[in-house]
Symmetry: none
Subunit: 240 residues, 4 copies
């Protein structure tokens, strides 16, 4: 009977340790699993390899092996190396944006909302360093289709931050309504700072700061400035 067979096959699942270069992950060699699952495994493997080797140096052989699938199957499901890379970027972009969005507590105070958004960002990038490496370092340097996908994701985050800052301004009934353009600039600066900190934290090895520390560093750096700006107080270059 099919059920019994499947059960048996499941029980006898081959679990083999694989070492690919400095690879540590364990490859699960199981036959006949639903496409959805297989595809996820392929994307997992691809993200890992792309992060480790870079887009161009990553080999489809290695990805297929790490995914525990045959190369023709990878092509059947994901068409080409480019499409595979695109799929990685799409999945990881969405995951990151979701993590940031869902980290924000809409009931919190303005600074609390910014804080929780940052915390979501840093927690996600710390938990998925390969994904972050792909998005931050690989995707932007390998041709238009990839770069613009990442750009769109970035824009989404910038929008979130922009709305956060605008809301802050409104709630503070601030003296000077800052213009939209300046707010967008501030959002870009904030996101850039966060990205840079995330990359730094991920590559700091053992001495990496916790997500809370990283987020606090950034809040310390910018919150006072944001508050000043909301009240029309500017730093002025006394001696340009």
């Amino acid at each position: 009977m099919k059920t019994a067979q499947t059960a048996q096959t499941d029980a006898a699942q081959v679990r083999a340790g694989v070492r690919t270069g400095a690879g540590i992950r364990t490859k699960v060699k199981a036959k006949r699993m639903p496409r959805e699952v297989r595809e996820r495994q392929m994307l997992d493997a691809a993200v890992e390899i792309f992060a480790r080797r870079g887009y161009a140096a990553a080999s489809m052989d290695e990805i297929a092996e790490l995914a525990g699938a045959s190369k023709p199957l990878v092509y059947l499901y994901l068409n080409s190396k480019e499409d595979l890379f695109s799929a990685c970027i799409r999945r990881e972009s969405e995951a990151l944006v979701t993590a940031v969005r869902s980290g924000i507590d809409p009931e919190a105070s303005p600074d609390g909302r910014l804080w929780s958004g940052l915390l979501g960002f840093f927690a996600h990038t710390a938990a998925h360093p390969d994904a972050w490496a792909v998005l931050h370092c690989q995707a932007r340097t390998h041709g238009e289709p990839f770069a613009s996908a990442v750009c769109a994701m970035r824009q989404e985050i910038v929008d979130v931050v922009t709305q956060l800052i605008a809301a802050t301004a409104r709630e503070a009934a601030c003296a000077v309504e800052p213009d939209g353009r300046e707010i967008t600039g501030l959002a870009h600066a904030l996101v850039g700072a966060a990205e840079s900190l995330a990359a730094w934290a991920n590559t700091s090895g053992d001495a990496a700061p916790s997500e809370k520390e990283t987020a606090a560093t950034l809040m310390n750096l910018v919150w006072a400035g944001l508050g000043n700006l909301m009240n029309g107080r500017c730093w002025s270059a006394t001696r340009p």
Copy 2:
């Protein structure tokens, strides 16, 4: 007369626009130039191609063509792809550090010095986006020799910023001596914010803010926070 004709032909050295893939630059096809000049052209071309395609995907053929030289000549002068990449990193690192250092007016006040340093960094990265892409995105993801070279450069800039902040702290007779690790984090955040702003400014088309405006945005965002930090005042998450 033949002599005159030849002279004329020589004088009217062929200047042909070339399009290599998405290439836009104009290649100057001039034969027999001193090694120094050719080498600079090669580095220029290499930086551009490395930025556009990434280290691994960049082809020596394309670099040579863009440099207006043949591949063997590139190898004669620069030995190998690795060496060429190293040479790019070295040259661009030094240029960037020099730009930042020489932008700082040592007579200025602490905030003025930070302002002018940012402005220098900013102006340079905006003027040489390819160089910055190579340093920031490529060099760190392609093996030790490159990564450490970039790391050294980054450290120099962080040092500059660190000294700036430290000087600020001293002049402010600040209550709390900030620790080195936190300063490094702040420097990374600053650099990331600056980079992001630069990219945003570069892609804003007509409405692009001037470098001074961009730098002012960043100063507004961070100067107050830096001041607070120097005095031991932190933002605290009231509702974590």
Copy 3:
């Protein structure tokens, strides 16, 4: 019917004669053959090209084409030019040693054994002139790994000859035990003479002597001298 047509086409696999440079061999272009067979074809082609052009001048392209396969397949199976050359040497060495060994009738008299050994050596080198060219001319002039492999093979043959001569000496109850170094020299002389005769026979066209005649010529030339040496009788330069 389409099925029938396809079947026919499959059955009538394209057999095309190819001329590569001065190539004469007929290449069999058959797709999808077992690895073992393809590998043998590759080695055949490699031996031919290495013999014709020399190790350094032989191109993997030409070898692949003559083998009726693509270059990547050659690399998949044989890894590199060096490994391919090694494989050739190994295969041909073993074949030659086997030919010599299996040609010797252990029941025969000493001279009969030498005769049959020569005949075996001779027949093999005449039948596989490319293989002999690779072993004799190429392998020794291209670096240690190759040289020592050929050296080992040569030693095996010298050993065979040595044992033959030693047996002769024993049976003849010879007066003087010849030293090993001299025997090695004699073996080299014999091999050189045999090789030279083989080449001469090969290029004599219609008037070419049979292998047996050639072998007889050599036996006539050396047997008496060998017998003398075994008995301590030397030719002496009466007038140096």
Copy 4:
């Protein structure tokens, strides 16, 4: 004044030790020498490099450097790598044939003439191992023009030996007039044996036998057989 200048230049002749790979020779860098001398230096260098690296792997740069001349001059005098190689073969072939011919004492007895011819051959190949390596190993494996040049040289030597054997037969008033074809075969065998012994002696390093020893080995091997043949006594395969 020109004379003074030249004198000065001559006095300041650069004498630089060069190390090319395992190279040991000392390069004499002298300007303005007669073409004949320069050409000889070039051929010397070429023979050395061709022997050390093989024809294909030898680089014109290295040859020019070892010859102490500029590359364009090498091309001016010798046209191309092929022509240079041909010139080497021609010069060394002639030298070898001359050495063999002039070594033979026409007054000597038959065996004395053979002996002295062999001695000349072995002495020359031992004194010029690079030349012999080029003739024996390189020239025959790099295409028709070279192979046939060497073949012609070889034929000259075979002719010399053939005449020697024929003269021997005549002088011995031998019982059976051996036919010309058999004598030619014997000559080929002899020459091949000598070649093989020369190569062996040259590659034996420190333990290399002297020329007299080598020649004696060969005489011991063949003289008795030759004598027998001249008298119609053949070895016969008792048990073929």
